[in-house]
Symmetry: C2
Subunit: 283 residues, 2 copies
């Protein structure tokens, strides 16, 4: 595995590989099984696997966890190499933003609800850095985890609208054996918070069961069910519970056979966790 | 010359040419010597020359001239072929925007003054369509005329900030023998308007002379000179006359040896003309 820290070095490595199928896995590092599953999928489908590790300041709000976001490059690079990365791109913030960034890529509608409402500017920061990284790597395929389902929807809309010559590959959420969705932020949790956080996956899986057995007829009923389930945990402070169409992320009333997302964001202490399930509103 | 009307056909033509140097000239058609000079420059510097003709609805305001913008594809394609275009891309609005466009590329600061102030949303429309076209063509070099100097500055800022792997080549404004800057919109002018419109190039060239001989010490004095010159023409309604740094397009007071732009937008009847000169503030 080759590690490069500058855009110029990355271009130099990629130049002789332009006739190969290039797969790209953009990450913020502190790798877990979710990230590794993206690498393995890219490894299967592409000739060359490029991963980036960059904690992007542009997608953090002023009171968010940019400074304390977990970092361990030594461990990350060992894991990346084991999982099959060929080129690991690890730029500094100065390399990515050498001058004040005046250009923004923004996606309306898909960005507006869920985390877009809770984290103003977040998805513009994501769309902008992903555009930059796409231009640096120019991959054929790029891999994103569905734990961040809204991010996947935003990137897919952006790739469609701006005609990026790139295929986006959404990959299933990877979970701990007890159901907790893998996240770099899970390390923030105390033992007690970690235990109570299991309600996210539990309530979402129960919602999926209820949906497949036709238990509810409106989105509101599904939302109320999940909301009440999560509220049973005393440490849980709900940011949102929403049931929307997917990937357009628009409100619905009656459940139909259209694909929907049940998405939650919940704080436990200082830690904000998200999780979701995708399924048909009606079988 | 090959003419293609779909993105798919364009990709198919370009696929076997990816090892060549590709030059790109994006236009809105109704070609004049200014456009042809871009093609000839691209022809000199590149293996393959791609030109697009697309009147982009996104960059026109609701009360602007989208519907009456001059079009003559037959004449354009003959001129393009003569000048050396290899592939002419001529998509419909439906091909470019098959679904409502939810993704915008916007550039702050550089977009805010001059035509950005007079035409809200114009440069976001430009940056967005140029991003789309860049992704379709993926050129090595792209050619833009300096008559639209703010457009060049916006595109250069965008390419820098978003790390497009593309070199932007700004090209000199081409003028009629009497000095009028070439523009597709010149056909709108009546004979009398056309005559009075000569004040734009005359006043700007006089400003350049004054600047090179150190006649003024502040930007305001240069602005006042050009403003008064243009005001001598009874049909001229001034939209703006501004003296700014270039390409950052920020106000200045004292003239220094920094590059500046003297830029004007003036209406004659229904027609809005722009022109500019670039030079050092002080020799």
């Amino acid at each position: 595995m080759i590690i490069v820290e500058t855009i110029q070095a990355l271009s130099k490595e990629l130049k002789p590989l332009r006739n190969k199928i290039i797969g790209f896995v953009p990450t913020m590092g502190y790798l877990h099984e979710g990230h590794l599953s993206l690498i393995r999928r890219a490894r299967q489908e592409c000739d060359i696997v490029v991963m980036s590790i960059f904690v992007n300041p542009l997608q953090f709000g002023p009171n968010e966890d940019l400074d304390r976001y977990p970092r361990d490059f030594k461990r990350d690079s060992a894991l990346a190499e084991q999982a099959g990365v060929d080129i690991l791109f690890h730029p500094s913030a100065e390399e990515m933003y050498p001058t004040p960034n005046l250009t923004e890529v923004s996606v309306t509608q898909v960005s507006e609800r869920l985390c877009g409402a809770s984290r103003p500017g977040h998805f513009t920061g994501v769309a902008t850095v992903v555009t930059k990284l796409f231009h640096m790597v120019m991959p054929d395929r790029a891999y994103f985890g569905l734990k961040d389902a809204q991010q996947v929807a935003v990137i897919q809309q952006m790739v469609h609208d701006l005609n990026f010559p790139i295929t986006i590959v959404p990959c299933e959420t990877v979970r701990e054996p007890d159901g907790l969705a893998m996240s770099s932020r899970n390390v923030y949790l105390t033992k007690e918070e970690r235990q109570q956080a299991l309600i996210l996956s539990k309530s979402l899986l129960a919602a999926k069961d209820g949906l497949t057995t036709g238990r509810w007829s409106t989105a509101e009923e599904v939302r109320d069910f999940v909301y009440q389930q999560i509220s049973t945990q005393p440490l849980a402070r709900i940011d949102y519970v929403e049931v929307l169409t997917y990937p357009s992320l628009q409100p619905i009333q009656k459940l139909t056979n259209q694909q929907i997302i049940v998405a939650v964001a919940v704080r436990f202490g200082q830690t904000r966790l998200i999780d979701n399930i995708l399924c048909c509103g009606k079988e």
